[in-house]
């Protein structure tokens, strides 16, 4: 970092709260970075000559005569090929023991893409997981979160998706990751030999929570560099956005803002939208796809965080442990990918939409049959076949350890239809029955 010739050092802090400190200073710009007693801080309020700084690491132990230096620029990230395979903290400093990287310095949290300069997303991202590729196909330029309970293996599923997706770059934004999860990602990427296309910005639970507010912008500004300037397909993984939002509420609380629903700041929707809307398909071919994790408390999706997220993202994926097969599946009922219509049956085989809907409908019949059984009613022959189908469907398609191509998924579904049902029960358009029914 180059320091200006006569950088003024302030040493008189007039007010200190848990997260902020205030001092008299001149010539300071809004959003500008500063260093307070060696800790990074950012300007959050200017009132005449009174400047309030948010100290990311907290103000514990900061004296009123601490040295304050303004850096004259907003938070930045250095971008370049040298980032590949590296792990950084929320400020972009290496945490993997390697040297600092050289690269172009970019302001984070830059402007939005002009909507008329976007392209409609149209390229499918294959993950090999049928619960995603078959039922909730993801498209480049899409933003979609996993809504998961904290005990579900969402980090494992994200890592799997990341490694299987044919992306040029994968950027991990880890917020409040436990140290073990951080090591898990690192080892998984390393073992897969994929480190060279992965860049990580990580804030672990050992770091101050407010620092995580920088993570999504660091990751997405880096993603924009590769997607816009190098026309690459970039996949950004953000985990866990609930912990990010919690940090937002800490800050707004300390700034004396009036909380709205669930003690979240009133600007939560805009704050989250600013991040998720960075997902984009550029006409030149580059794209940013965001797959995020929003952990739920007790499966409650009406809480402000998942609720606002649902209004912003293009669908959501639910994980569920299926006790019948003892595996985790992508829940076909509650999951939804809003952009799948743009690719299914177009880039995938023509029968994809019908097969997908039919399989889910039959799976729903099985669920109804199970309810009947639980309520003590007798099962019909159809009910029993539906339950048998559901078991096969979970095992061979929905389970997240399945890894097959989309065409194979469709063929598998046709096999299961023929195994358990007759043609009229399946009720698919005649031309597809003629073509794909497996006798």
């Amino acid at each position: 970092m180059t320091t200006k010739a006569f950088q003024r050092i302030y040493t008189k802090i007039t007010q200190i709260t848990k997260a902020t400190c205030t001092l008299r200073a001149t010539g300071v710009g809004y959003d500008e970075m500063a260093v307070v007693a060696g800790r990074k801080a950012q300007v959050v309020k200017i009132q005449g000559e009174e400047v309030t700084l948010q100290v990311f690491a907290g103000t514990e132990g900061i004296p009123t005569d601490a040295e304050v230096v303004f850096l004259g620029k907003p938070p930045t990230v250095k971008v370049g090929d040298a980032l590949s395979g590296r792990f950084f903290d929320a400020y972009g400093d290496p945490i993997d023991g390697g040297p600092a990287v050289e690269g172009d310095e970019r302001e984070i949290g830059g402007p939005s893409v002009n909507p008329v300069r976007r392209q409609q997303p149209s390229k499918l991202i294959a993950t090999g997981i049928a619960g995603i590729d078959l039922n909730n196909t993801i498209v480049t330029g899409q933003k979609i979160p996993f809504f998961a309970d904290p005990d579900q293996p969402y980090n494992e599923v994200m890592a799997t998706v990341a490694l299987r997706a044919e992306a040029d770059k994968i950027i991990l934004g880890g917020m409040g990751l436990t140290h073990d999860d951080y090591l898990y990602y690192r080892n998984t990427f390393d073992n897969a030999g994929a480190l060279d296309r992965i860049i990580s910005f990580v804030n672990t639970t050992e770091n101050p929570p407010v620092e995580r507010l920088l993570i999504p912008d660091m990751a997405l500004t880096t993603a924009e560099y590769f997607a816009y300037e190098h026309n690459q397909k970039v996949l950004v993984l953000l985990t866990d956005m609930t912990l990010y939002s919690d940090a937002l509420s800490i800050v707004s609380n300390r700034m004396d803002q009036i909380p709205s629903k669930d003690s979240m700041p009133g600007s939560l929707y805009s704050d989250l939208a600013k991040i998720y809307e960075k997902a984009v398909q550029f006409p030149e071919g580059g794209s940013i796809t965001i797959i995020a994790v929003t952990t739920l408390s007790g499966g409650d999706i009406t809480h402000a965080i998942p609720d606002n997220t649902g209004y912003i993202t293009e669908g959501q994926l639910f994980l569920r442990r299926d006790s019948d097969i003892g595996k985790v599946i992508v829940d076909p009922f509650r999951s939804l990918s809003r952009l799948k219509q743009l690719v299914i049956g177009k880039q995938t085989r023509e029968d994809h939409p019908q097969v997908m809907n039919t399989a889910v409908r039959l799976y729903a019949d099985a669920a109804n049959a199970k309810t009947k059984l639980e309520n003590g009613f007798d099962l019909s022959d159809y009910d029993e076949r539906a339950i048998a189908f559901a078991l096969d469907y979970s095992e061979k398609l929905l389970a997240i350890d399945v890894n097959i191509g989309t065409t194979k998924m469709l063929d598998t579904a046709w096999e299961l239809f023929a195994k358990h049902f007759n043609k009229s029960e399946v009720a698919i358009k005649q031309e597809f029955i003629d073509k794909y029914w497996k006798d």
Binding site: P115, K261, Y269
Partner: protein
């Protein structure tokens, strides 16, 4: 440019996009000002004044803004520029033409002119020298796409004027003088095709605003048949995420029987707007044979664009709608979503440290919403023509809970309520409008009843009421069946339930993605409802309840195939015959 003494000021404080400025002269509430930063100027609006300190909300990021920065106040409120060339445009919330911005990323402080300065318009004069005119009087006509765009006396003009001259028919640009009018004191005023209007003020260049008396046809059955919206009426669609608000709004934007569609994407997803950009230029409006984008203007302030401009976007949309209404046109204004606008108000109110109302929304939220909805309406113009603005907004209630401030405030003013139900969406019963909770107050208007009696059939309104009752009775029967079990209730309950399912599957549910089923003309809706009600009125013979379900499923299936067939085509008639055959199998013979 006249030399005007603009008030200037210096920035004294910054918190996010709320900036305080010490001013050296008079400023007015809601005045527009520019903050000079680096090479550019950031647009802002005055939202509070205390002494010589003006509180302004900046419409863009204030990153890097310093104390002492110069601010110039413009002596006008937030305005839009009105004139030919608005149609087919894609604007941001402040009416900047997005297509004129060449770069991929939006640049702070880049403002583009909303109209085409070079384009020549084919003009036909309307007014003659000597005519007495007032604000909103038509002076000339230009063809904008296929629409007759009237050049009017600016709405800001007060009192009467006399036309001195209107240029002869020919081609003119929006900057050419096309008429001269004389005020009572004898001053000549030259006019161009352009005028400006402050967006927060309603355009009132009309004679009166009568009760709405016709309905706006949308081709969506649950709207037109069950809960029609009047031309010049207001309605809103609240629903949790994933319940199909946007698909429903897009379907209406494509099909509605209106001359002009203004779509305001207010704080929603950018990819949804991209879908409209991509599709509308390719879709042909069957009534005119022209592509849909020719009659559409899009105002998009997506969720990642500056929050303060989000609030402006709905007013920009309304002002443009009122402008076209003054030309005697039928305008439909769609806003997705008004909740995001309310949230923008909340963010600013919070920064101003105002005492909060419920859920931290500003206390005057309810009056802001009702003032806005009041701008819609059917109007008679002074020259005998009439025009309308029909407004349909979506609401995104937090947690899908309809007891939140935005939904409740809107419910007080909007006359149609289209409640999207999570339950129906989960069951893939689209459009997921709940037939019991929703309502249209217009069905109680005598004028609308008379209109429907003439346009559709004399019994139409009572038939609608009757079908809603059948649905309600079906729902009650279903509850009993669920409690007592299939064989614990009289057979008649099953029949009642399946009759309501018939209306649900055949009339209420509609495949928005199908070319034919997606758009049902009113005449066909009449045929369909009459046919379905005839079945609901029939008695059937069944031995046991187990026969009811498969029998009705067959009827429903035949109806669905019929809905997918061209009206009165060979295929269509085939299914009508098939349904009649099925009916004969079990209809009670009345001659025994």
């Amino acid at each position: 440019m006249d030399k005007i003494n603009y008030t200037t000021g210096k920035v004294v404080g910054v918190i996010s996009n709320l900036v305080t400025v010490k001013v050296d002269g008079p400023v007015s509430q809601n005045e527009i000002c520019y903050v000079k930063i680096d090479e550019s100027e950031l647009m802002a609006e005055v939202i509070k004044i205390i002494g010589d300190i003006a509180y302004i909300q900046v419409f863009e990021s204030t990153r890097g803004l310093k104390v002492g920065t110069e601010v110039v106040f413009m002596q006008h409120m937030l305005e839009v520029t009105l004139g030919p060339g608005i149609l087919s445009k894609n604007y941001d919330g402040l009416q900047n033409d997005l297509d004129k911005m060449d770069e991929t990323f939006l640049k702070r402080g880049e403002y583009t002119f909303p109209l085409d300065e070079e384009k020549k318009w084919e003009l036909q004069p309307i007014a003659k020298p000597g005519d007495t005119v007032v604000a909103g009087s038509w002076l000339a006509n230009v063809k904008e796409n296929w629409i007759d765009h009237k050049i009017m006396v600016p709405f800001t003009f007060e009192g009467e004027y006399v036309v001195k001259e209107v240029v002869p028919a020919g081609e003119y640009t929006i900057k050419d003088n096309i008429a001269t009018i004389v005020d009572p004191r004898g001053h000549s005023i030259p006019l161009t095709m352009m005028q400006k209007w402050a967006i927060k003020k309603p355009i009132k260049a009309y004679k009166d605003k009568p009760m709405p008396s016709t309905i706006l046809k949308t081709g969506v059955r649950i709207f037109d048949t069950m809960f029609p919206i009047a031309e010049g009426g207001t309605g809103f669609i609240p629903g949790p995420f994933g319940s199909g608000k946007t698909v429903l709004q897009h379907a209406i934007a494509k099909q509605a029987d209106a001359d002009i569609i203004i779509m305001t994407a207010c704080g929603e997803r950018a990819n949804e707007v991209v879908e409209i950009f991509t599709e509308f230029p390719k879709l042909v409006d069957p009534r005119t044979g022209r592509t849909l984008n020719e009659r559409t203007t899009i105002i998009c302030n997506t969720s990642n664009m500056p929050v303060a401009a989000r609030e402006a976007s709905v007013y920009t949309g309304m002002t443009i709608a009122e402008y076209y209404r003054s030309m005697g046109l039928k305008v439909l204004l769609l806003a997705d979503s008004t909740s995001r606008w309310a949230q923008a108000l909340r963010e600013m109110s919070n920064r101003l440290e105002e005492l909060p109302g419920q859920d931290a929304f500003p206390v005057d939220l309810s009056s802001i919403i009702s003032n806005f909805y009041a701008r819609a309406g059917f109007v008679n113009l002074p020259n005998g023509a009439s025009g309308s603005v029909t407004f349909l907004g979506t609401v995104s209630p937090a947690g899908g809970n309809l007891k939140e401030p935005v939904t409740e405030s809107t419910k007080k003013v909007a006359r149609c309520f289209y409640a999207l139900s999570q339950d129906r969406a989960d069951k893939k019963r689209y459009p997921a409008v709940d037939p019991i909770d929703s309502y249209s107050k217009y069905l109680e208007y005598d004028q609308v009843k008379d209109f429907l009696a003439k346009e559709v059939s004399p019994h139409w309104v009572s038939e609608i009421a009757r079908s809603k009752n059948i649905i309600l009775r079906g729902r009650e029967a279903q509850e009993q069946i669920n409690i007592l079990g299939d064989d614990g209730v009289p057979l008649d309950y099953h029949l009642r339930f399946w009759k309501s399912e018939l209306i649900d599957f055949v009339v209420l549910q509609q495949d928005a993605f199908d070319k034919i089923d997606g758009n049902t003309p009113l005449e066909r809706q009449n045929f369909l409802l009459t046919f379905v009600l005839k079945i609901c009125d029939s008695d059937f013979e069944f031995e046991s309840f187990e026969e009811v379900n498969p029998y009705f499923k067959r009827i429903i299936n035949a109806f669905k195939q019929m809905n997918y067939s061209e009206y009165q085509s060979e295929n269509f008639n085939k299914y009508v015959t098939e349904i009649e055959h099925i009916l004969k199998e079990r209809s009670m013979k009345h001659d025994d």
